[in-house]
Point group: C2
Chain length 437, copies 2
């Protein structure tokens, strides 16, 4: 687990002045993205957010300002995906972070030479941060699992394996897109409970899921197990993740092999990846009720219990077509926190590799819907509308049980803690278009 160091110092400020004004991207954050200038024919390359600017890492790499592993990492980060950077592992990434932190600090001697490599964030567009070889979605919120389970099995909402094993399944990587993604309402086969036969048509119960996405860092080979003590060395960083779901398609298709087309039509990630090192000050402890089973030894460590969780505030908003047309503010749907997760990031990757499964740099692990213990912390409309039975009221008088065409979902995340600067993840935004048929 990465420790708090000088790059997290609350007293650090940047010569990029916007970074010092409660921005999502103070000098203590330094998240990575892949970008290019909007509308320009130029190569995608890595960038680091600082205030309202992006530091163009390809431009910086050419200057040969750094040395050793920091320069190696910088050159990796100037490629069109971050996979190579991710695979360098925590030491090189940490060296790059320290070098970037020093370079961007107030009174850095590099200010003049680096100023031309800054680009305003509102002048860029993002690319996918990496090639996602495999995408896995977990189910780590016990509150979400219980709420969903109640809809299907009121007397027995939580299955016997839930508290023993991080439940997960493989998802589709070909339709993962970056914030700004739009997609057509999926069409599929569904069967109403009272119908004798299924029918084929547009999804009627379209939903979002408020999740975090974890990117794999250093790869493992097939057959190589990950010890929980070293697990976070194989995690690069975290984004916000919206795992769109078609509830009616899922209900008909998912037995016995799990969700398939109910999920594979679209999934949206935020463009900025906040590194595990940047998150060092915002760890949370991970204790379970004494009546719950404790994790088996291979999923347990002292450090995991002390600090395995991540204290990341999440919030979810909707902007309907009507709100957009009437220039009304988006409406908050819920707020939650990643610390409610029943399994830690270290446990997820340790479990994932425990059968010898190869983990590749850039693989994405979704946390599963991060619902919290109260109704206001529900991470999906399925929960907020009590299984689609009770519509929720929006401030402009509209109601929603599930999503309508033209709805935009906005998710945000940030970390705050006494003695640390607030850092943010930016946001993930995506819009539902009408079905094509």
């Amino acid at each position: 687990m990465l420790m708090i160091n000088e790059t997290h110092d609350i007293n650090l400020t940047s010569w990029v002045s916007f970074a010092n004004s409660d921005s999502d991207f103070p000098i203590q954050n330094l998240p990575f993205a892949i970008f290019k200038r909007k509308g320009q024919e130029e190569a995608l390359r890595g960038g680091v957010a600082i205030g309202n600017q992006v530091l163009d890492l390809a431009a910086v790499a050419k200057m040969n300002l750094f040395s050793g592993s920091a320069q190696t990492a910088l050159e990796a980060a100037s490629q069109s995906t971050l996979n190579t950077l991710m695979n360098l592992g925590v030491e090189a990434n940490s060296a790059l972070r320290l070098a970037l932190s020093k370079a961007l600090r107030t009174d850095s001697p590099l200010q003049n030479i680096l100023t031309p490599t800054l680009i305003a964030q509102d002048e860029i567009e993002f690319g996918m941060p990496c090639q996602i070889g495999d995408y896995t979605d977990f189910y780590t919120s016990i509150y979400h699992a219980t709420a969903i389970g109640k809809l299907f099995r009121p007397d027995n909402p939580l299955l016997p394996n839930y508290k023993w094993i991080p439940i997960g399944y493989h998802g589709r990587s070909s339709t993962i897109g970056i914030s700004g993604q739009t997609f057509h309402r999926p069409v599929g086969q569904t069967k109403a409970p009272d119908a004798t036969e299924p029918s084929f048509g547009p999804c009627k119960r379209l939903d979002y899921e408020l999740e975090m996405g974890l990117f794999v860092g250093k790869s493992t080979q097939m057959g190589e197990l990950i010890n929980i003590e070293n697990a976070e060395k194989h995690l690069f960083g975290v984004c916000i993740f919206n795992d769109w779901s078609a509830r009616d398609i899922q209900a008909w298709e998912y037995q016995p092999l799990g969700p398939f087309l109910a999920k594979s039509f679209a999934s949206t990630i935020s463009p900025w990846i906040v590194t595990m090192e940047a998150l060092a000050p915002y760890r949370s402890n991970f204790t379970r009720p004494e009546t719950d089973p404790q994790p088996l030894p291979h999923l347990s460590s002292e450090q995991n219990t002390q600090n395995g969780g991540l204290d990341i505030n999440l919030s979810c908003f909707i902007q309907t077509q009507a709100m957009l047309e009437n220039k009304q503010q988006m409406a908050q749907l819920s707020k939650s926190n990643f610390k409610y997760s029943y399994w830690t990031p270290a446990q997820l990757i340790t479990h994932h590799a425990s059968n010898g499964c190869a983990m590749r740099s850039g693989d994405l692990l979704g946390s599963g819907t991060q619902s919290g213990p109260t109704y206001e912390e529900a991470g999906s409309l399925l929960e907020l509308s009590k299984g689609g039975k009770i519509p929720i009221d929006l401030p402009n008088g509209e109601k929603r049980t599930f999503l309508e065409d033209g709805d935009t979902i906005i998710m945000r995340a940030s970390c705050s803690k006494e003695g640390a600067v607030r850092i943010g993840f930016g946001e993930v935004v995506a819009t539902v278009l009408p079905a094509k048929v």
Copy 2:
């Protein structure tokens, strides 16, 4: 659907004489693989099998013998993966097939110039034929689904959705390997029915699954649907596929989101991809019992009913450590046929894209275990041993309920039909190593 043409002519012979002697690879076959010379430091590139030889497509491409789309496809096939070739689509691939067929025929004027580009198959090693972006596994054998269902639900083996929708789930692409793959017995969490708590240790119920693998050809974009009439334009070809399964891990983990670590430790494909065009003579009709529901309109076409299936004979063998040591022949476990599939390849890809899911060249669709209607056609040990209850006898006196360390599984496939030459797929071979812990 591709039609029978001059490349399938039963009277064609090749100047590569071995191809004319009931080889898996007569001139009517011409399957693709990625290869290089064994132990040589040289680039992986595409090859086509002819008899006991490989035609080195990179070497042929440099000669500029072909023109138009055949030459374009040949150059694509000389890359280190076949993804570009696959994405060219059926017209270009068909042009290349015709050009290769003409070039390899008896009395071809190209014989002298092409002879140096042949390499003996026993002098090569294979690479992965393509980058597999996403891997999906279906469940198309109703006999397998019923047999497995009976183990869990004796009174209600087949779930209500089975005859309406091709059941499938996403699998793990990072551990798909080529024939010759070895892997350590997976370790995982399991819970014996009479145990109060789960435990972590080596899998006790390791199994193979006899499957076919379908490779996606021309890509589709997100939101682009595939009409069943055009569906096979998006399929490049077929391999043999062994989807290794850890039954005890699966039983504990799979509810409610499906198989995960029970499958992701290893999957093995045969190196040669037989193209959909090569399979044109071996189509089978696809009719269901009149009492079964007929497919919904988007999964139905006249042509699909007439010829949607593929008549491919499958066989599965075991070679135990003892057989190897005592120089005994491998033992046949079962035989089956892909024509038993309840869903056709066209239905699988049409269904897969029906929600707007992007299909990428090189994506792999597993057929699911291809068990046939009789016991002798069971495609897994789980079925052959009646759920692990009745060991099967091997000819050398050994018994198996599930796989033991050192066991090698060999799968073969071939097509025979009156009026057509027999073509084969070669084989897929892989060996279980002891668990690492």
